[in-house]
Symmetry: C2
């Protein structure tokens, strides 16, 4: 018998009515001859409500206890969904993370799956049960209940599919992966396929449909992922190994992030000591640096720009203030009214000239960029926030996104 | 270091504010030099709300899934309470039933504790943590989450106290055990002490403060129980081994139940075959019989009365209808407008004449009784519901309750 892992997110199981629709979709698959493992998130805003309750007690509630608290959300939705299957005449059983054999390690609220013992799931599947697994959670070696952080239920689903050697279907509130967020470019195209690498790059650069870690896990174990809408029919997007069908596009997608802070430091004495000092101070405060560029001003000094996320603004301000004290004559400028636009595509690996094509496009349309970085399959530009819409339209049209 | 198990019921932890008060009470005990294991119920009406959700899906939701669903209630309250302790500067850890080593057996929603492995609790107590245990739940040999049925959190607390060899304190919304429900007799006295046997008898006869099974467990392992109010100061009631202090009263308490249905069958042929036929038919339908009395009408026929709970009325009606068909000439009468009044007291074991004293009291006050049964430490009367108030007052005054 064929097997599939399906994952339904919080908005797909927000009410009993919506769960009923989920159950019908699963049963349809069952009737097609599939054994189904269903991974569910907590109903609607449950997790946020639980966190709020804990935060009303303590600004920083103990993470071990937060995990204990949050894990109840998926336990509730999995048992209710299982009751719905039974009411519809299908044998079903719900399993918490630990019952499903999901062992984790790491820090609470951000655990990673270390091992899955699927014996129990396999036994229940052999008994022709629809197995409903509480997503987002597991158990560590201490026997504590753990959670997997953002996108944790996706990770549960992909990891189970990897272990059970089957396809993983992610049902969510969008109908697939788009070349660009349709809210930014109304003609955005839904992709039929995207490679693991492109999807990871897009996730890292700000696409919110899937977390990079779940895609990475799928890539590592070669698990095909199908992302589709839980409430509307029609095709979704396959995330899978690059094949010929997918190779004809140079640029697959475009991502945009407004959560960018850029610091520019002028007149830094050209000495690795001064430069490394900046970044070691930032690292000590756990500020994640995204882009870095350095140019020489030709007179024994260099200019340095780096970007980070706006959440770190306060910390960066404090670090830079200290740094200036120790390095007189230096000049620091902060930009927050900026946007990062990235284009992603496996085609870039083999095709040169993408960067220059974009430079030309920007120049023709009077878009100034403040910084640029390239990776093997992506190029990112920092532009003024006011140019965002224009830049998105220009790029989407030029690359047929 | 001394150790105590404290249990707080659903109404004591209904809101974060109330939990805060519970935390202060526990900390007070901690400061007195006690290690504390706290057993909590689910917040307020949580369990009922979860059951209602399941019942809105299915009239008879699978009990295994119901257990999975209900167990989340105590998991939430235990983790929140633990966060409150930490916020107040006290190290604490919450444990689900399975983490606390509570192993159970039996049918879902009505499991019994089979074994407790307290190693983990002991270790955390040695680390000076306040251990908060989710009441009402455990895990069976299959690895399924189970619940312990009515009064399950009390059972958890008593069983833990038995295993840890310490006293068990039950904090609830009443300030102890009363000789009679104060809503029925406003001068009712709170008892300082009551023996295990009397408490069990009173629980079986309808007193709602504690379930008989928890008291029975305490009796078996000789765990002293202290029942008191979680929201008001003042003394509560000890449930413990009978000692001299407690022996001077003949009648310790009085219980009243309106949930009684009485069937009277006249003209049953005097043959064990006919009589046993009635009760085997009822047993087959899982009707629990409470009182039975049989009298001879002197002409080869007998009259039989029995009582059961009103919930079984439909089943009893159907069974009696069938029985009449097979036993022509028989005459069946049903009474539902009746009340059962029971007096309980260890003193009855050594003192005769209690029944006759009550017969006299009833006769003097024109109270007719329809049925009477006696056990070693209790006597129960079925009277007309309209005589309830009068009977309660007469008995309470006569026996100084």
């Amino acid at each position: 018998m064929q097997l599939v892992v399906q994952k339904y997110g919080g908005s797909s199981v927000a009410t009993l009515e919506k769960m009923n629709k989920v159950a019908n979709a699963v049963i349809k698959r069952k009737k097609e001859g599939f054994n189904v493992v269903v991974v569910v998130s907590a109903m609607g805003k449950t997790t946020n409500n639980l966190i709020e309750m804990a935060k009303s007690i303590s600004k920083e509630p103990c993470k071990r206890e937060l995990d204990m608290l949050m894990a109840t959300g998926e336990q509730v939705s999995s048992s209710l969904l299982s009751i719905i299957f039974q009411e519809k005449g299908y044998d079903s059983i719900s399993l918490t993370g630990f019952q499903a054999g999901i062992k984790t390690e790491g820090v609470h609220t951000k655990n990673k799956i270390s091992e899955i013992d699927t014996d129990k799931i396999k036994r229940y599947l052999e008994e022709d049960k629809i197995v409903v697994v509480a997503g987002f959670q597991g158990i560590n070696t201490e026997g504590d209940i753990t959670t997997l952080g953002r996108g944790g239920s996706d990770t549960t689903a992909v990891a189970l599919a990897a272990k059970l050697k089957c396809e993983c279907e992610i049902y969510t509130d969008v109908d697939g992966i788009y070349s660009v967020d349709p809210r930014l470019f109304s003609n955005a195209k839904r992709l039929d396929y995207i490679s693991y690498e492109e999807m990871m790059e897009m996730s890292c650069l700000g696409a919110k449909v899937m977390e990079a870690r779940s895609v990475e896990l799928a890539y590592k174990y070669n698990v095909p992922i199908y992302v589709a809408s839980s409430h509307q029919k029609g095709k979704g997007t396959y995330i899978k190994e690059l094949d010929k069908e997918m190779e004809h596009k140079v640029i697959t997608g475009l991502t945009v992030s407004d959560n960018v802070l850029m610091e520019t430091i002028n007149q830094v004495p050209y000495s690795s000591e001064y430069i490394s000092d900046i970044f070691s101070r930032l690292a000590k405060e756990e500020v994640n640096i995204d882009m870095i560029s350095q140019t020489s001003s030709g007179d024994g000094y260099v200019n340095i720009s780096f970007t980070t996320s706006k959440e770190d603004e306060g910390t960066v301000d404090a670090v830079m203030k200290e740094y200036i004290k120790n390095t007189p004559g230096i000049n620091v400028k902060k930009d927050t009214d900026i946007t990062k636009i990235s284009v992603v595509g496996m085609g870039m690996r083999n095709e040169s000239g993408v960067a220059s094509k974009i430079f030309k496009l920007f120049s023709d349309n009077s878009i100034n960029f403040k910084q640029v970085t390239t990776s093997e399959i992506s190029i990112s530009y920092i532009i003024n926030a006011s140019d965002k819409e224009k830049a998105v339209n220009v790029l989407c049209e030029a690359f047929n996104l």
